[in-house]
């Protein structure tokens, strides 16, 4: 079990005028990762994700707070003891970070050499691991000869070499295309299930957390703003940061968002008014909502744009509808949607006025 207690990391930065300044990358972060979990830590760039994961194996020394692994505060260990612990908490990276001058096999044997294992034994183990990650034929290849996905597989094999208890993934799929990402996540899930290794995944991609994680913590400006099981956090996001992540297209507050809406609105047919319908966790998956509205009210809505996603039973996202430009049509639609409390409705004209 990994317990992070009140972790704070402050970087001192020298400002342009030379005055010393500091920046809190992490503020009082506490979280607990249970054995066998796949724990996602998600946040925007600069939220402190990478710093947090580097504090877990002390690549980055926290300014305050503790990291306890199975009850041991690893911040207090001697360098030699810490190196031993690091063999139990291995890591994979966005940039793979393989040794480019070594063959794949030699990359996998590398951590074993560090721990003093015999060469023949290490090679045997490395071959088995390359088998597990699906690259038994690449033992003699050099990393430069492999694709990104293959390099990450080698990196995973290398991370597994020392029989770790925990695998830290620092944006491990961010440099990969969607198909490869999926394959790597499958592999991580397999490792978690078959080898019982706890996995901590750092990512900015919602899809990664949705796909494999059992638990998630949302990090925003160095603080954990929400934490829990993936289904409960994502189906009912409480914080602003969580909402931004869960349905980035909705509630567009940026001007770019409005411009996009305006662009689509311009594409609407003459004599239509454009309404934006925001699904903010509404329970509408079980009914054909827009069609039902058309039948119930007799108003034929023209769907100009839609971006929705289902999380559990709920729908998040937004939609732009073209409605016949008559006052009663507008009122009818408004009152129809008003029946569902989780649907927000706004006219694109209003958006333009604000902008």
């Amino acid at each position: 079990m990994i317990e992070i207690r009140n972790l704070t990391k402050t970087f001192s930065i020298s400002a342009e005028d030379g005055a010393p300044a500091s920046f809190d990358a992490l503020k009082n972060v506490s979280l607990t990762v249970g054995d066998g979990d796949i724990f996602g830590i998600i946040g925007m760039s600069g939220a402190g994700k990478s710093t947090l994961v580097r504090c877990i194996n002390m690549l980055e020394r926290p300014t305050e707070g503790q990291v306890l692994i199975d009850g041991v505060d690893i911040g207090t260990l001697t360098p030699a003891r810490l190196r031993a612990v690091r063999r139990e908490i291995t890591m994979i990276f966005q940039g793979f970070n393989l040794l480019m001058q070594r063959t794949c096999l030699a990359n996998v044997t590398f951590p074993l050499e560090l721990s003093g294992m015999k060469r023949s034994e290490a090679r045997k183990k490395a071959r088995e691991l390359l088998e597990i990650v699906g690259l038994p034929d690449k033992a003699k290849s050099y990393p430069a000869q492999l694709s990104g996905g293959q390099q990450q597989r080698v990196a995973i094999a290398r991370a597994l070499a020392t029989n770790p208890k925990v695998l830290l993934c620092d944006e491990a799929t961010s440099a990969l295309d969607p198909n490869t990402t999926h394959a790597i996540l499958e592999l991580i899930r397999k490792i978690n299930r078959e080898l019982g290794i706890t996995v901590i995944i750092i990512t900015h991609q919602m899809s990664v957390v949705e796909e494999v994680c059992s638990h998630v913590a949302i990090l925003d400006a160095g603080q954990v703003v929400e934490m829990g099981e993936v289904s409960s956090v994502f189906s009912n996001p409480q914080s602003d940061a969580a909402r931004r992540l869960v349905y980035p297209d909705a509630n567009g507050s940026g001007s770019g968002e409005n411009e996009r809406s305006a662009g689509i609105a311009a594409a609407a047919r003459a004599g239509e008014r454009v309404l934006r319908v925001v699904f903010n966790g509404s329970h509408t998956t079980d009914k054909p909502f827009i069609t039902q509205m058309a039948i119930d009210t007799g108003i034929a809505a023209n769907i100009l744009y839609a971006s929705t996603r289902c999380l559990g039973e709920c729908v998040f996202g937004d939609m732009l509808l073209g409605i016949p430009d008559t006052p009663q049509a507008l009122d009818t639609v408004r009152s129809y949607f008003a029946k569902d409390g989780d649907i927000i409705i706004e006219e694109i004209g209003e958006v333009d006025d604000r902008a």
């Binding site: 031993a84 063999r87 291995t90 990276f93 040794l99 001058q101 560090l114 050099y142 830290l168």
Partner: protein
């Protein structure tokens, strides 16, 4: 001047020198250069490693005063022109070799001049390494020495070979200069015949031979560096 340079008499004399003195001179030049470069690497490689590893954010941080002294000494030695350094080092050479003239004696100032240069070259090679790879090794529980010997040095082999080539060609140039203070080799022939006795043809031949040797070192170095670079895709 040209017709005097290529007169029958001059050509005949040059051919005589070519047969009788050049083989020895070439041998002297090559062994002085290779030996001096090797000694310079023995001293310069660890220093270059310290320059990178000993930094504040390096893998083996050293106290700041040590790093400052290291840098100042290297810069001082690098600033003294080789000709002056040779003269300044005469007492040291006499102490080590027993004499301050001759081919073997010229190795001492060559090493002293070359090792700070080698240290800087090693430093620049090691700085090319992706710091994330070092971080990855740390995350696997590598000790500072393991990182230096198993990550930093092996990963920068192609660059180290390229820079060793630069070092050896530079030392070759310096070794030719040592002809002035009695060091042997092609430099001595060029100075003795060309400068002191106006035998320009002999000097020309010596210079051409130096160019050929530089070419050979450079080609071999480039070939090795490319051959050992596993970052280049080869199917």
């Amino acid at each position: 001047m040209l017709d005097r340079m290529f007169s029958a008499e001059a050509v005949e004399q040059a051919l005589w020198i070519l047969r009788n003195e050049f083989p020895m001179a070439i041998w002297e030049t090559v062994y002085v250069t290779v030996l001096a470069t090797l000694f310079a690497i023995v001293l310069g490689l660890p220093l270059g490693v310290l320059l990178v590893a000993g930094e504040k954010n390096g893998v083996l941080p050293l106290p700041k005063p040590i790093m400052s002294v290291l840098n100042v000494v290297i810069n001082l030695l690098r600033s003294v022109p080789f000709l002056i350094l040779m003269i300044l080092l005469i007492p040291l050479t006499r102490l080590i070799v027993g004499t301050s003239v001759g081919t073997v004696a010229s190795i001492v100032p060559l090493v002293i001049a070359a090792f700070p240069f080698v240290a800087r070259l090693v430093e620049s090679s090691l700085r090319e390494i992706n710091p994330n790879i070092i971080e990855a090794a740390q995350s696997m529980g590598a000790s500072p020495m393991q990182i230096i010997c198993r990550v930093m040095l092996p990963e920068s082999v192609p660059s180290l070979i390229s820079n060793a080539t630069i070092a050896i060609t530079t030392v070759l140039g310096y070794s030719a200069m040592s002809g002035i203070v009695g060091g042997g080799g092609l430099g001595q022939i060029a100075i003795n015949y060309g400068y002191y006795r106006y035998r320009y043809l002999v000097m020309l031949i010596a210079v051409i031979l130096l160019i050929v040797i530089v070419q050979i070192f450079q080609s071999a170095g480039t070939f090795l560096a490319v051959r050992l670079d596993k970052r280049i895709k080869k199917k």
